[in-house]
């Protein structure tokens, strides 16, 4: 990409940040509020300030999961356990009953560091495991979590099955009239979320990020290049846990409540599904994954009202979506966005005229994944698109 090609991209990012910055004020404008209400009633897409705050929480968590799974290639099915660790650490620190009232920022940071320590602790044995074995080990983590949280000797802090309730956050008094409580909550979650995302983006383009990617693509190769495999594998776990912990801390602060039921096995799996759908090894992918994770419940709920069978087929729906994504868009929604962003209208028109589009679609049939499912294409199809097929969506 040349610098000219990058300009619209930069503008798009700045527009996104600006939109997020002013979002809580759009809401106070009646026309926009009306639009949002109708959007919610028709599509189930709830864009209230609180929901967008929830999005910011999951953005941090999913960025962390993407560092681990997308960049360093290690699969964690128990990521919610780390989120829970962060959530509980923050909630215990913030709980007025414990008289350990600390500033929110400290609690969230403590949550991140605590989860990070746990992440490193898991990362060490994880060195011996890879692929499915690692996934099963992390699955054990989340399955055992409810029992651990309900243990009698720690129930005094964790509140057992009832969880911990936190007081509602209020905007500081010097901001009276400028920022109301909802907006305060929004900014105090969105700000760290954006910072964490930018940090991750930078980090993944640095030495650490390259080491992760090298590890993922070939462990032996990475070792030959001088990457300390043990160090970087545990670092990936620790870093990802740091994100999960901060996300969990923000979750506790935003929801003002944590309980064993807030973090489950299904949630953990859903996180992984979201990352795959959003786009592995891509920050844009994490953002899209967080949007999917936050807003799909409402949309599917609305769909259930129209087609009742959707509810019973919810997981089948995820499964089909996942397979379709893998086959047609292995880079996830982020890959699609990147490809669309590269299209120029004139190119599209000329491609359509010359029949390239039709050929590109028929070439899908020859993709290795499709061939594996449907068998080799019949002979009457002319072999085409040798050049177009490979590599176009491979670069990040």
């Amino acid at each position: 990409m040349t610098t000219i090609g990058r300009r619209p991209q930069t503008i798009a990012w700045l527009a996104l940040v600006a939109a997020l910055f002013f979002f809580p004020y759009f809401d106070t404008w009646p026309g926009f509020a009306w639009f949002l209400r109708n959007l919610e009633e028709t599509t189930g897409l709830n864009l209230s300030v609180f929901e967008v705050t929830t999005f910011a929480v999951w953005l941090v968590i999913l960025t962390g999961l993407n560092l681990l799974t997308g960049y360093s290639g290690q699969i964690s099915l128990g990521h919610s356990a780390l989120v829970a660790a962060g959530g509980y650490i923050a909630a215990i620190l913030l709980d007025p009953d414990n008289s350990t009232e600390v500033p929110v920022a400290v609690a969230v940071l403590g949550a991140g560091l605590g989860a990070c320590a746990i992440g490193f602790a898991i990362g060490v044995p994880a060195l011996r495991l890879s692929g499915p074995y690692l996934a099963i080990a992390t699955l054990a983590l989340i399955v055992s979590l409810p029992q651990l949280l309900k243990l009698d000797n720690i129930a005094e802090w964790t509140g057992g099955a009832s969880g911990i309730n936190l007081p509602t956050p209020h905007a500081p008094s010097f901001l009276d009239g400028v920022v109301d409580d909802h907006q305060w909550l929004y900014y105090s979650v969105m700000f760290p979320a954006v910072i964490m995302t930018v940090l991750a983006w930078n980090l993944m383009r640095s030495r650490v990020g390259r080491a992760f990617i090298a590890l993922r693509d070939s462990e032996i190769g990475a070792q030959q290049m001088g990457v300390n495999v043990a160090l970087y594998k545990t670092l990936a776990f620790g870093l990802s846990a740091l994100y999960a912990g901060v996300g969990g801390g923000l979750f506790a602060y935003q929801q003002q409540f944590v309980s064993p039921e807030s973090f489950g096995v299904f949630q953990s799996i859903q996180l992984l599904v979201a990352v795959v759908i959003g786009g592995l090894a891509s920050i844009l992918g994490s953002i899209l994954a967080a949007a999917f994770f936050t807003f799909q419940v409402g949309v599917i709920g609305r769909l259930t009202e129209v087609i009742p069978a959707v509810d019973r087929l919810r997981w089948a729906f995820y499964g089909v979506l996942l397979i379709v994504m893998m086959v047609s868009l292995p880079t996830g929604a982020a890959g699609l966005v990147r490809r669309l962003a590269r299209l120029r209208l004139a190119d599209v028109v000329s491609a359509w005229r010359s029949g390239d589009v039709g050929r590109a679609i028929s070439s899908l049939r020859e993709r290795p994944a499709v061939v594996r499912i449907l068998g080799a294409p019949s002979m009457k199809q002319t072999p085409t698109m040798e050049t177009k097929q490979g590599g176009d969506d491979r670069s990040d």
Binding site: F50, G131, K150, A161, N165, V265
Partner: protein
């Protein structure tokens, strides 16, 4: 920059395997609408005497022709079939009936907006905020689930939104008393206490074995039973626990038997109850008297246990069970359901939904034409001796008592249904 196709497919396969594994284990991991509690003695202290002036005379959600109520229930996901999809038609049918026959309450029709929280506390948080901030509900009615409602309890309290008749047995919502919040279900400590006293009466020197679910629901039940047998010669010989995700309780029953118990009591959900009863009475051919929490008082439990095995099992009931075919309240419920919700099934939980809606309508009527958030709280606290058409005992509420149902009865499995017997047991504090 992308993982090879090979490993993506492996990831996919793994996800499918994990989902399958978990779905297998997760059948029925949902706690009955209840659980928790602090102490058994039903005595609350009002925070501000009889003075309600701190609650604003807010009329949000009320127009000249309409009252907007909201609720959070699981309408999709695993818990939906258990709760939301049965309770909501019951509530809706009675509200439609009142709107239709009586033209609503004081000329205002009631509109109930139920939002789906999928039984996930963070979803509850989100949907209830939308109900309050965006839809502008007047009050929340029958929010379901202990953890779920916990997530929004403080928010509703702070916004001074009346939080009426929460669908859980948790004492934490009614003790200490929050002026805007009222509970509905009897709590498990009171119920356990009654079961304990009953065992002490009928088996004076019993060796009692307990099987409880490892959460607040089970723990409260155990606490109640221990409280009930205090001072008698009944001795608890063992307490076996299980996690809500497990469904086969053969090992626990075996352990109870090996510990030398001669009476078995349990706090489990219907699915596990079926396993306990059939294991004891059929697989082990162990003729032990069984006492169960009222949570299992549903015909499905008898089906799960096998009709022959379930005979004589004793439980508690606080609403009229469906089978009592000659009961006028139940017949009326069936008629209303057939007219207003013809597609929904009539079940013990639709009776539950109907009964809570009836109490809400009673409160709205008592609040009079000048309806606002303060007057509705005042009206709720004035409810005395109200026996709804489906209740077994009267409901009393007051400034120091925000618990609705505090009387219940024992029931015994006879044939394919539960039959209520004996006198009412009352834990009522308000005279």
């Amino acid at each position: 920059m992308i993982r090879s196709k090979e490993s993506i497919f492996r990831l996919l396969l793994l996800l499918v395997a994990a989902v399958g594994l978990v779905a297998f284990a997760a059948c029925g991991d949902d706690e009955e609408d209840g659980g928790n509690g602090a102490d058994g003695t039903p005595a609350g202290t009002p925070t501000a005497g009889d003075d309600l002036s701190s609650i604003p005379e807010d009329t949000t959600g009320i127009t000249a022709t309409e009252i907007l109520l909201g609720s959070h229930m699981p309408l999709s996901g695993a818990a939906a079939a258990l709760y939301g999809n049965q309770i909501v038609p019951g509530m809706q049918a009675y509200i439609d009936y009142i709107n239709d026959v009586e033209g609503g309450v004081n000329g205002r029709k009631i509109r109930l907006q139920v939002e789906d929280d999928t039984y996930d506390p963070s979803r509850t948080n989100s949907v209830v905020r939308t109900l309050v901030n965006q839809d502008g509900i007047f009050a929340l009615l029958s929010g379901l689930g202990t953890a779920q409602h916990s997530a929004v309890f403080d928010f509703l309290k702070e916004e001074q939104v009346p939080d009426l008749f929460t669908a859980t047995g948790a004492t934490k919502f009614t003790d200490p008393i929050t002026r805007t919040a009222f509970g509905y279900n009897p709590n498990y400590i009171q119920e356990g206490d009654a079961i304990g006293k009953y065992i002490a009466r009928t088996h004076p020197s019993a060796k009692l074995g307990l099987i409880i679910q490892n959460d607040d629901f089970g723990r409260d039940g155990e606490k109640g039973i221990r409280q009930g047998i205090e001072g008698s010669d009944v001795e608890v010989v063992t307490v076996e626990t299980y996690e809500a995700v497990s469904t086969d309780l053969t090992a626990q029953v075996q352990n109870v038997r090996n510990a030398g118990a001669d009476v078995l009591a349990f706090y489990a959900l219907p699915l596990q109850a079926g396993s306990i009863i059939s294991t004891a009475h059929e697989d082990l051919a162990w003729d032990v008297p069984i006492y169960a929490t009222g949570v299992v008082a549903d015909p499905s439990t008898i089906q799960l246990a096998g009709e022959a095995n379930a005979q004589g099992v004793i439980t508690t009931a606080y609403l009229r069970p469906l089978n009592q075919g000659d009961d006028p309240g139940v017949i009326e419920h069936q008629r209303i359901m057939a007219q207003y919700q013809p597609e929904a099934t009539v079940a013990n939980l639709s009776i539950y939904g109907h009964s809570v809606a009836e109490l809400a309508v009673e409160v709205l009527k008592a609040a009079g034409p000048n309806l606002n958030r303060r007057s509705v709280i005042e009206a709720a606290e004035s409810i005395r001796d109200f026996t709804c058409s489906l209740c077994l005992g009267p409901i009393n509420l007051g400034p120091t008592d925000h618990r609705s149902i505090e009387t219940f009865s024992f029931a015994r499995a006879e044939g394919a249904s539960w039959v209520v017997f004996g006198d009412l047991v009352s834990y009522e504090t308000t005279e």
